[in-house]
């Protein structure tokens, strides 16, 4: 069924509705809770075979609404997440006026961000996908900035810078591919299926070392997937957002990247190794970290590593596992960050060294945090157990020894760095003397909702509906995957509880210190500015004196022709990130203009 005009994509309900929220004044917070539910209903009401296209530049069609195999599972969880996030961020009248003021910026931005992510999952052509992909960057940057602190301002700039660079890479790759398709006489060069580079999965195309377009597109997506060394923006920026902002941020950018990777690069072997690197990197950095929300940020990279590895494996089992795990991950990660956000909101403290002993006075926050910690660790009877194990199973089925042993080690490491470390240092460890109560009702409700989802998804029989919306559903009468076997349950418990033993046996080594661990962001936060300040700038200034001397002895007329000295030394002042961003935005704009002219 194809319609040339008709329904807008369901994500636009959130994007446009979100932008209208500040105008609704007192009604805004209530409407904010309805919009995600309306979006969810729309996602499910649209027939699976509906395709909506818009004419573009006279010659081409943009497909703004189409169901790809992983669309439903990703769009569904994005809408559910927008609801839980809005509930967590809900401003209670008269309780905290600063939070209320922040809400008017943060929530519309978060809805633009979430709605664009949903639009990406419905995009049927590469240009629509790119437009919403970039709109996500705008929304998420605004979410970070809305925290209103100096640190958030700076981290937001760095975040925007990295995402603009990622966007440029992606756009350059898209244009290269579109030009090549046009040169080959393809009538619909924007159609998404031309960009399926994966060796397996949805289409049988492959790409090699010389295919620059595929590499640029892959790099652009891996920036958003937070693959090291391109992913240090995540742990840099996410923990600087507000307690509710970080909850939104944890869900959409990396998981949209997982969705697009799954669509375009399923079965690309390189992704197995990228995923394994992410899984191990996340653990090592989280072990060393002291900021509770940065621990959880690193563990996002670790978990997305499992999904990226599954996409690299590329079998139906692996892709189902990656999609299901993205679904489960969004819920338990948001839950963990809600728990951490509640602690931050009630105590104003974010470092493990300042926290501890909160079990005395925050029982609901602690219980929900522990449920999230059990789910991320894939304990039996939680969501992680029925999703992540599909990826491990796929590695075993394909006899990928390195992948299987590393994923199994990383599964043990998850319990160590997130499953125990987060609840232990925040709620137990030592008595910090802090006795804050649990947070307001809306934050408690959001946590209880997601804690219930974490458990329900792990209950035998209840996870069936999730399995039924995966990219490769089981044929009638067949079982997609059976997680609850005696050896699987016992082996998983053995792996996790002995990982726990290692944690407590090595507790003196794990004692928190007032430190950070340098990451790739050091290059653009310290090295590049340092090189400019201590190397390039002195050389430029030295040459300026030389020029001044030479030109000072020239006749005035020649001087005017070739050299006009700057009015001030403004030309040589240090370039801030703002200047760099303007240049990069300029590049991006130039690419867009070129693209429009060419297309």
């Amino acid at each position: 069924m194809t319609e040339s005009v008709g329904l807008p994509p369901p994500g636009l309900i959130l994007v446009l509705g979100g932008l209208l929220l500040p105008l609704l004044r007192g009604l805004g917070p209530a409407v904010a809770l309805l919009l995600p539910l309306l979006t969810l209903a729309a996602i499910w009401a649209i027939p699976h075979d509906l395709v909506v296209t818009l004419p573009f530049m006279g010659q081409y069609d943009l497909t703004v609404l189409a169901f790809n195999p992983p669309t439903r599972v990703f769009a569904t969880i994005f809408a559910v997440m927008a609801f839980a996030g809005a509930l967590f961020a809900h401003p209670i009248a008269g309780l905290d006026s600063e939070r209320g003021r922040r809400w008017r910026v943060e929530l519309p931005a978060a809805f633009v961000y979430a709605g664009s992510a949903i639009c990406v999952t419905f995009a049927g052509d590469i240009l629509s996908l790119f437009v919403f992909w970039e709109l996500m960057a705008v929304g998420s940057t605004t979410v970070i900035w809305s925290a209103g602190t100096k640190e958030a301002g700076r981290a937001g700039y760095r975040y925007a810078l990295v995402h603009f660079v990622g966007g440029v890479l992606l756009m350059a790759g898209i244009l290269a591919k579109v030009f090549a398709l046009q040169a080959a006489g393809v009538a619909d060069p924007l159609a998404l299926h031309h960009f399926f580079f994966g060796a397996a999965g949805f289409e049988g195309l492959s790409f090699g070392a010389g295919d620059a377009a595929a590499w640029l597109i892959l790099l652009g997506i891996l920036v958003n997937a937070a693959a090291p060394p391109l992913g240090s923006w995540l742990a840099d920026a996410y923990p600087e957002a507000s307690e509710s902002g970080t909850v939104f941020l944890s869900a959409f950018t990396t998981k949209t990247a997982v969705y697009v990777l799954m669509l375009l690069f399923a079965g690309t072997q390189l992704l197995i190794y990228v995923g394994l690197l992410m899984a191990v990197y996340g653990i090592v950095y989280a072990i060393l970290e002291n900021d509770m929300r940065r621990i959880l940020a690193y563990s996002i990279v670790n978990q997305v590593g499992f999904m990226v590895c599954g996409i690299g494996i590329g079998t139906a089992m692996a892709l189902n596992g990656a999609a299901a795990h993205a679904f489960a991950h969004i819920v338990y990660k948001a839950l963990l960050l809600m728990s951490a956000g509640s602690v931050l909101y009630m105590t104003g403290k974010r470092k493990c060294t300042d926290l501890g002993g909160l079990y005395h006075s925050m029982p609901i926050t602690m219980t929900c945090g522990i449920i999230g910690a059990l789910a991320i660790s894939s304990f039996p009877l939680t969501s992680g157990f029925v999703t992540k194990s599909m990826i491990n199973q796929a590695a075993a089925d394909q006899h990928l020894a390195l992948a299987w042993f590393t994923l199994t080690a990383a599964s043990a490491g998850v319990f160590l760095h997130a499953g125990i470390k987060f609840p232990w240092f925040v709620f137990f460890q030592k008595d910090s003397g802090l006795r804050p109560p649990d947070p307001p009702w809306n934050m408690r409700a959001a946590m209880i909702f997601f804690a219930a989802v974490c458990i329900l998804l792990g209950v035998p029989g209840v996870y069936g509906p999730l399995y039924s919306i995966l990219p490769f559903p089981a044929a009638a009468g067949e079982t997609l995957y059976a997680p609850y076997t005696v050896p699987h349950v016992i082996n998983q418990l053995q792996l996790l509880l002995f990982s726990g033993l290692a944690f407590f046996a090595l507790l003196p080594v794990l004692k928190r210190t007032l430190t950070i661990t340098l990451d790739a962001d050091w290059f653009y936060r310290r090295l590049f500015p340092g090189v400019w300040k201590h190397l390039v700038r002195p050389v430029v200034l030295a040459f300026r004196e030389l020029f001044d001397y030479l030109f000072g002895h020239m006749p005035q007329m020649v001087k005017d022709l070739v050299y006009s000295p700057p009015q001030e030394s403004a030309m040589f002042k240090e370039w801030g990130l703002g200047g760099a961003m303007v240049v990069i935005t300029g590049f991006l704009f130039a690419f867009l203009v070129l693209g429009y002219i060419a297309v």
């Binding site: 191990v280 653990i283 090592v284 950095y285 072990i287 060393l288 002291n290 900021d291 470092k351 002993g357 079990y359 075993a396 089925d397 006899h399 020894a401 299987w404 042993f405 199994t408 080690a409 043990a412 490491g413 160590l416 137990f428 030592k430 008595d431 076997t485 005696v486 050896p487 699987h488 016992i490 082996n491 998983q492 418990l493 053995q494 792996l495 996790l496 509880l497 002995f498 990982s499 726990g500 033993l501 290692a502 944690f503 046996a505 090595l506 080594v509 794990l510 210190t513 007032l514 430190t515 950070i516 661990t517 340098l518 990451d519 936060r525 310290r526």
Partner: protein, 81 residues
């Protein structure tokens, strides 16, 4: 009962170690099950998941702390101007 009480901590350790011992014994049960498969040989060794889980975690902690940490750890005021 307070979790800061040394008596409580002692009891928790004893209880936990008992659970771990039971889990090692449960390997006999898992190995008899028709779903039990070893895909790579060594993963079929007795109690593989117990010693592998403990071993890799110990290695990850020690490498993080004494290799990566030694090289890349800085004071958390490092980026503050």
């Amino acid at each position: 009962m307070s979790l800061e009480d040394p008596q409580t901590i002692r009891k928790l350790w004893i209880g936990s170690l008992a659970v771990l011992a039971l889990l090692v014994l449960a390997d006999f049960w898992a190995r008899q099950d028709p779903h039990h498969h070893a895909h790579f040989g060594i993963d079929g060794a007795f109690g593989f998941y117990t010693w592998y889980g403990f071993g890799v975690c110990a290695v990850m902690v020690l490498v993080s702390k004494f290799v990566v940490g030694l090289l890349l750890k800085r004071k958390d005021t490092f980026y503050d101007d």
